[in-house]
Amino acid sequence: MFKSKNSKEDFWALKEVSFDVMPGDTVGIIGKNGAGKSTLLKILSKITPPTSGKIIGRGRIASLLEVGTGFHPELSGRENIFMNGSILGMRKSEILKNFDAIVDFAGVEKFIDTPLKHYSSGMQLRLAFAVAAFLENEILIIDEVLAVGDAEFQEKCIGKMGDISQSGRTILFVSHQIGVLNKLCKKAIIFEKGSMLLNTDIKAGTDYYLNNLSKLTDSIWEANPLDISGKEVSFRKISLLGLNGESKQSFGFNEDIFLEFEVNILNFVPNIKLSVTLTDKFQAYVFTSVVNLDEYFREGSEIIKLKMLIPKGIIAPNNYSFRYAIFNKLGKTFDLLENETKIKIIDTGSQMSEFEGIDYGSVIINTQWLKG
């Protein structure tokens, strides 16, 4: 029942981190969960002291590690605005000055004197963010607070944050939303396991993060030997490969994509076709390509090998998956694989780069624009 603690292991949430932030910088802090981002913000917010090292800063810091800190359900919206604003560091005079604007931004004018416990969660969130939006501190530190709320509200928040960075204030922003980071920040600092990996511009930073996110395990599909044994024709192995035959899951927009197939044939069946369908994250079909397997059949062998090339520069940056089928003209399906081998296309430079993060479709087609 009682365990004696013989040794205490030191855990460094952050180690040897050093960087500068200039006035007016908008810095995105990126990293996997557990990388030390929130600890960094806590230290900057003076909530936890650093074990060693020093931070020097100029200006007042406002920390948004959570929206609605200090909100009390028994108090009215009006009272909570004062309470929350004061905790965030606003003077009563500042709160009074911005009071109407805050209520307007949150859209809760009708209920401003009702106790907060009667508000919907959406209303509470809007009110919380509204107070924070009118902070006038020179330095703003924000921790993943935009990951909540409906799409319309998120738009509003992002808009307001854009205004704030335009006004020349310094922002440090922790988020996993790559699209938002790309929109709002100019620089990126990447953390991993407590160390600073990169300190660069936002594009390079988010690219690096995206590239290193996915595991390679989903780029190869292999059949279970027991499944194949009964089928006349079936998929044996499907691999996603890059130009040099290496196993890959992430491809740049301007990279050729190879799919290598191994098809098992127990008994030769004429007129069989293989189809490959690219599906987007909503399971909608992007395109389908069909090939006659007959041409690749070799007398005496049980396996057909073939490769498919998806030309570069067409599939829009996004996450996709594949649907594979083997069938004949009469409609008989010999094998079917749904939602296998996941692929990620990364925006490394395309006509639509500036719209990264927005859903503009699954293909980028070079249309011509002519004068009317």
Binding site: K46, S52, I56, G57, G59, E74, L75, E79, G89
Partner: protein, 272 residues
Amino acid sequence: MEFEIKPQSKFSLGLKELWDYRELFYFFTWRDVKVKYKQTVLGVLWALFQPILMTVLFTLGFGKLISTNYNLELPYPIFVLSGFLLWNIFSSGLSGAGNSMVNNANIIKKIYFPRLIVPISAILVSLVDFLMAFIVFVPVLFYYGCSFNLSAILLIPLSILLTVMATFGLGTFLAAVNIKYRDFRYILPFFIQALLFATPVIYPIKISDNKLFQTVLQLNPMNAPIEIFRSSISQSTLNYESIFISISVSVVMFIIGIVYFRKTEGYFADLA
């Protein structure tokens, strides 16, 4: 305005910072008072309930016994009520402050502000209750034929100040300790209850011949304020020796409390 963040080094009271954040005192206290009496019909009047009830009970129970055997210089109800008025600052202030850090854990983990504001505001809340009770105390005082001495102008604020100092010292200490060792949350109510009987609220110090008991009562930091308060409404003379002892204990507790709090402040967010 340049600032530096570094590992905790030298000790400071942080008075300048407290002044910068002074508005937060108001908001925390205001919030706690509002929340305490929200949705009640009587509202702040509840602050009167306890002292009056206690006075009635003890008067009925012990009034005759104590006043006939000991010269109190005051009608027993006034003797008890005056004791309770100050005692309640101490008891509700102490339990409020002791639990304040844990109760406000979510704010402490997310925002920076001088942590001392939290227990201080809890004590300010009990002062608000005191004000309400005092307003009722005055007519009751006159009803029993007593009045304020001239010295009351000095003595009453002094007694309040001493009470607050004692409450603050023990309160901040408990606030800091409670975060790490949650046992105190449970010990506190018993401790306060027991302490009531070691304080001359219901009976005077001379009630017991036992030297040890008398010493404990004298060491009690609440002894001095209560005696001083009572001397402002009666003809009793102050026992300067026992008052001096009591005040010294109060000062020591004040220093220990604030030092311990400031020293351990940095890790509250991690432990809360």
